[in-house]
């Protein structure tokens, strides 16, 4: 009986274009995509090389490690970002406590000033250290901020249109996201500006299987308005390291947890 109902649902969704059943599917897809892209394992670590190429082909690089720990799958998370490149910013740290029900907490540690500052997180659309990625690209955008709509479902991806509920809070009018059907990793996000012109593209360039988790190992953000892009290379990805919760605290900003960092 159950099988029939399920079959019926699928049939109706394919043939009858029942919006209600689509809505359910969309939520499932984006929830799975959110888990696949930001919540692999209980925790994780990665070496990151960021290459920013501006409109004049001038290149800047950033090198850092990301430690991540999930408090709850699909929910609260903690990030610790430790910088090693460029040399002048070595030992600089960003830390994020991500929530789904309120604004994130963010900290920044500047070693040369021996200064820990909280950064207001009311707006997460600001640049991540001068790159074409914004904060939300790194730690994920809260799913509840947008309404989601499945527009098409070609053979291997779902194409979903996401429209912000509060249009004033973001610089785009909507974005289209393509999610792989096999591993639910978003492979492309296209942002359309207020004039509904394609303005920014974020794409996964390389996906590898790491410890059984499909993981993006190379990603690129392109700003079409000023013809610049940023490529992120993830290396030495490791999941389920068993990170301790207390390293994600203000105390560890000044004293990087060497034990957990990939030397």
């Amino acid at each position: 009986m159950k099988r029939f109902i399920l079959l019926g649902l699928i049939v109706s969704s394919v043939f009858m274009f029942n919006p209600k059943s689509f809505a359910q599917t969309v939520d499932e897809i984006i929830t799975k995509a959110n888990l696949a892209s930001y919540y692999a394992g209980n925790d994780g670590r990665s070496q990151v090389t960021m290459t920013i190429t501006d409109s004049q082909s001038r290149i800047r690089t950033r090198g850092f490690q990301i430690l991540r720990m999930d408090v709850q799958d699909g929910g609260e998370q903690k990030y610790y970002v430790y910088f090693s490149q460029p040399a002048d910013v070595q030992d600089m740290v960003y830390m994020v406590w991500k929530y789904t029900d309120k604004d994130d907490d963010r900290w920044m540690y500047l070693p040369a000033l021996d200064l820990v500052r909280r950064i207001a997180a009311t707006d997460t659309r600001s640049s991540f250290v001068g790159s074409n990625f914004v904060y939300e690209d790194i730690s994920g955008r809260n799913l509840d901020l947008d309404t989601h709509e499945l527009l098409a479902s070609p053979t291997d991806v779902y194409i979903i249109k996401n429209t912000p509920k509060d249009a004033g809070s973001v610089e785009f009018s909507y974005y289209m996201i393509s999610i792989r059907k096999d591993n639910f990793l978003p492979v492309k996000a296209e942002y359309f500006d207020k004039q509904r012109k394609l303005s920014r593209v974020v794409e996964a360039l390389e996906i590898k299987d790491i410890q059984g988790y499909a993981s993006v190992t190379k990603s690129k953000a392109t700003d079409l308005a000023n013809n610049s892009n940023t490529v992120i290379d993830f290396s030495n990805i490791k999941y389920d390291l068993g990170l301790e919760a207390d390293i994600f605290s203000e105390r560890y900003l000044r004293r990087p947890p060497r034990k957990w960092l990939d030397q």
């Binding site: 460029p86 002048d88 920044m108 040369a112 000033l113 500052r117 600001s126 250290v129």
Partner: protein, 840 residues
């Protein structure tokens, strides 16, 4: 040969008419290919260092030329900082962003800038200054306080008094600024608030000027033509007759413009002046012909016979007046400024076209006319009126004759005094220009310029780019270097000419103080390079990290200091250039740097310097060439020199007037010097040539002078009146350069006719013999003459070499001295030669 041409024209007038018509039609079909270029930047050739550097700076630092839109609210107690005005500006900014050609992401406004400020305790916030439209006065106050607290914004996008805000609108190309400014005006119309909107900025001024100039051209040239027509009608009464010079002027202008366009030259601001320059030149010779024709016809009574007599008398002076005018303009082709070169060459062509038409078209036209229509000239009412006209001019001329002949010493003394006073006046001329001041002081752009520069630190921008000599070092995040720049900024501000300068030190200080809790005491450059780098990477976490790259390069090997000036006057920009040079030479930089300037305000200084300098050399060169020609024409260096006297006095007087009334020596004035030279010599040529012809018949100066003050002097005064008054309406033109042209035309005609009619007779009364200089003897036989002539020849040759090659003055001077020595020796030898001896 040319005499044959005149005969041909008289006998085959219809063929001539057809050929002229053909020429005009051929020119007219070129017109659709017209390209218009209103960019003063093109005053410099494209590969000029300043231009390539400016282009490189704009690219490297992502800078665009911008239109300045200012909003001022003097009515609200909070100035523009009330919700209604701010929201209007917000909406307008959004509209502007969508306009074609506007670089929307680089628009600088309250709503497009990211601010760094204190949040809750221990928190920094990166936040759009005005993210959305606002509702309350508190929000408006908050925006004002934050904007004023940020040194990047204060004085730039928000005025110190809080009464005004500015939106800087970057545009893809300067030649769209007029269109964009019109679209903005259109958008402003819909806003109903108690604030006022102003648009200015060099690109708008320059582009608007280009457009209004063409409009003005289409009005002024025909208007001047009309006035000239009316004046001629007053003098000659016969409409049929005076139509001929008008047709000639039109044909000349059209064919010259057709030629210019046909050769593929864009019609630049300069070349749009061609019609107004050619018109008086084209009309001048025909007025001489008509004037003489008019006088002679009465006694001869046959049109063809009369025209031959008149042309015979006037042929040589007309040829020479045309050649001298052509030389004056042609000398502009040595100028280092491409549009000026094209202008000079084509006006010179136009002058020669006018001359050919004068000796062909006018005779042909007259021979086509019905003999009956001349009947009026000899009799009837026309004569009475015309006698009255003649009466006034003749009475004046008679007085001039008396004064210049009987009181010639006084006249000459006064001339000398005038020269001395003029030289003093000229020493007071200040060289200066500013495209904004090409408009009337009530023009929108001038008004906006005045008001916005009252409220803000300056709407004129220049970029000072400092560049590390060692490219591998990130010297501009070294605290020492930043402090050095900071001190330079303070120095410039203290000198008073710079309204504000913005650069990397300001960003570093602002971020540093906000990171440390917002205390003003920490508004300083941090101690270490690492600290600077970390401040900057913090800044890169904002919404607009790219703003940093308007001020430095990502490798920190260059910085760009944005300098705001309240005045776009070239002399003020030059002062700032000197201040920076002086500061940097007196205070060595901690690291080795090069520095250079970019930006429109700076570029204007460069082309002005080139132009003024170039014009002065051109002018001196053509002065000597004209002298050379005069010597050749009159067969006597002494007469040549005498013929230069009225011209010299005219030029000295007119230019000293600029010094006395405090008018700047600017682009139009510089270009007009060529015209002054070409036109002021004309009367002297006519006068001396005719005086000599008459003198050779009666051999008595008093007799000659009497005759001279009949026909020839009358022709000169008619000419002077026609042109001087014809261009008077230009004084009321809305564009300042047109007024300048009007003033110059008037002054050239007035002063040079007066100078010619007073001074030449006075000199001749002093030295009556000069008129009888033996023409037949070879000039070279007189050693003194020979030396003078060879000197002029040498200078001419050197001038030409200098004009067409890049040889510096040094070597050419040495060569010239050597040439002079050889020539003098040759002259001394020639004097002893056989063929000279025979004559003696």
């Amino acid at each position: 040969m040319f005499k044959k041409l005149i005969h041909f024209s008289v006998h085959k007038p219809k063929l001539i008419m057809f050929l002229v018509l053909l020429m005009v039609v051929l020119s007219l079909i070129q017109f659709p290919r017209m390209k218009v270029d209103t960019d003063p930047e093109n005053m410099l050739s494209e590969d000029e260092f300043v231009r390539t550097f400016n282009h490189q700076v704009k690219k490297e630092f992502g800078i665009y030329d911008f239109i300045v839109l200012g909003v001022v609210n003097e009515n609200d107690p909070n100035g523009v900082f009330n919700p209604k005005t701010l929201n209007a500006v917000y909406a307008l900014t959004e509209k502007v962003k969508g306009m074609e050609g506007v670089i929307s992401r680089e628009v600088i406004a309250l709503s497009t800038k990211d601010n760094i400020r204190q949040g809750q305790i221990g928190e920094v916030v990166f936040e759009w200054l005005m993210k959305d439209p606002i509702d309350t006065q508190e929000q408006a106050n908050f925006i004002r306080d934050e904007a004023k607290d940020n040194p990047m914004f204060n004085g730039t996008i928000v005025s110190e008094d809080g009464k005004a805000v500015c939106v800087y609108i970057p545009i893809a190309k300067k030649d769209i600024s007029y269109r964009v400014s019109q679209e903005i005006y259109e958008a402003i119309k819909d806003i109903k608030g108690d604030e006022s909107y102003y648009i200015t900025g060099l690109p708008v001024a320059e582009d608007t000027f280009g457009i209004e100039m063409f409009k003005q051209m289409a009005m002024s040239a025909p208007l001047a033509g009309l006035v000239i027509f009316l004046l001629m009608w007053m003098f000659f009464k016969s409409i049929q007759l005076i139509i001929s010079p008008m047709l000639l002027a039109v044909a000349t202008v059209l064919s010259t413009m057709g030629l210019l366009i046909g050769f593929g030259f864009p019609v630049h601001i300069m070349s749009s002046m061609i019609p107004i320059f050619l018109m008086p030149i084209a009309v001048l010779d025909s007025v001489h012909i008509l004037s003489e024709f008019f006088d002679k016809y009465k006694s001869i009574g046959n049109k063809q016979e009369t025209i031959f007599v008149v042309m015979d008398e006037l042929f040589t002076p007309m040829l020479y007046t045309s050649l001298t005018s052509a030389v004056g303009f042609f000398s502009l082709s040595f100028s280092p400024i491409p549009p000026v070169q094209a202008f000079g060459v084509f006006v010179a062509c136009g002058v020669m076209i006018a001359w050919i038409l004068t000796i062909t078209f006018i005779p042909a036209y007259i021979s086509l006319m019905d003999e009956k229509s001349f009947a009026k000239i000899g009799s009837g009412e026309a004569v009475k009126k015309e006698d009255v006209q003649h009466g006034i001019i003749d009475v004046i001329l008679a007085k001039i004759q008396k004064i210049s002949i009987y009181h010639y010493k006084t006249v000459l003394m006064l001339s000398v005094i005038a020269i001395i006073v003029s030289i003093y006046g000229i020493s007071r001329i200040s060289v200066n220009d500013n495209p904004v001041r090409w408009f009337d002081k009530n023009h929108n752009i001038r008004v906006s310029d005045r008001i916005l520069n009252k409220h803000f630190a300056g709407t004129y921008t220049a970029y000072l780019v400092l560049d590390s000599e060692d490219q591998d070092k990130q010297i501009f995040i070294e605290p020492e270097m930043l402090k050095y720049i900071e001190d330079l900024q303070k120095y410039l501000l203290a000198q008073g000419m710079v309204g504000k300068s913005t650069g990397l030190p300001d960003v570093v200080k602002k971020v540093y103080s906000e990171l440390l809790g917002g205390d003003k005491a920490n508004y300083i450059i941090p101690q270490t390079k690492r600290a600077v780098a970390q401040c900057l990477i913090s800044y890169e976490n904002s919404h607009k990290p790219d703003d940093l790259w308007h001020m430095t390069t990502p490798d920190y090997s260059k910085v760009n200091l944005w300098i705001q000036l309240k005045s776009g006057d070239n002399k003020d920009m030059s002062v700032v250039l000197d201040q920076v040079d002086e500061y940097i030479s007196n205070n060595p930089s901690p690291f080795k740097i090069k520095y250079n300037w970019a930006g429109l305000t700076y570029i204007n200084v460069i082309w002005q310097n080139k132009m003024v300098h170039g014009m002065l050399i051109n002018f001196l060169g053509s002065f000597i060439i004209v002298f050379f020609m005069m010597t050749f024409l009159f067969g006597s260096p002494v007469l040549g020199l005498i013929s230069m006297v009225p011209l010299t006095i005219t030029i000295l007087l007119i230019y000293s007037l600029l010094g006395f009334i405090g008018k700047d020596y600017d682009m139009p004035v510089a270009v007009l010097s060529a015209l002054t030279l070409g036109l002021s010599i004309d009367f002297a040529i006519h006068f001396i040539q005719r005086a000599r012809d008459i003198y050779s018949e009666n051999l008595s100066w008093p007799e000659t002078s009497k005759e001279m003050f009949q026909g020839p002097a009358r022709a000169i005064s008619r000419n002077a009146l026609v042109i001087a008054l014809g261009f008077l309406p230009l004084l009321f033109a809305p564009l300042v350069p047109y007024r300048t042209v009007g003033f110059f035309m008037f002054a050239i005609m007035f002063v040079s006719s007066i100078a010619t009619l007073f001074i030449l007779p006075a000199i001749m009364s002093l030295l009556p013999k000069v008129l009888g200089v033996e023409q037949k003897r070879n000039l070279l036989c007189n050693c003194k003459y020979c030396v003078i002539i060879s000197m002029a020849a040498a200078v001419t040759v050197i001038y030409l070499i200098r004009g067409y090659t890049a040889i510096a003055w040094g070597p050419t001077l040495i060569i010239s001295v050597i040439v002079m020595g050889i020539m003098s020796a040759v002259c001394a030898q020639v004097g002893k030669h056989k063929f000279c001896m025979i004559d003696k």
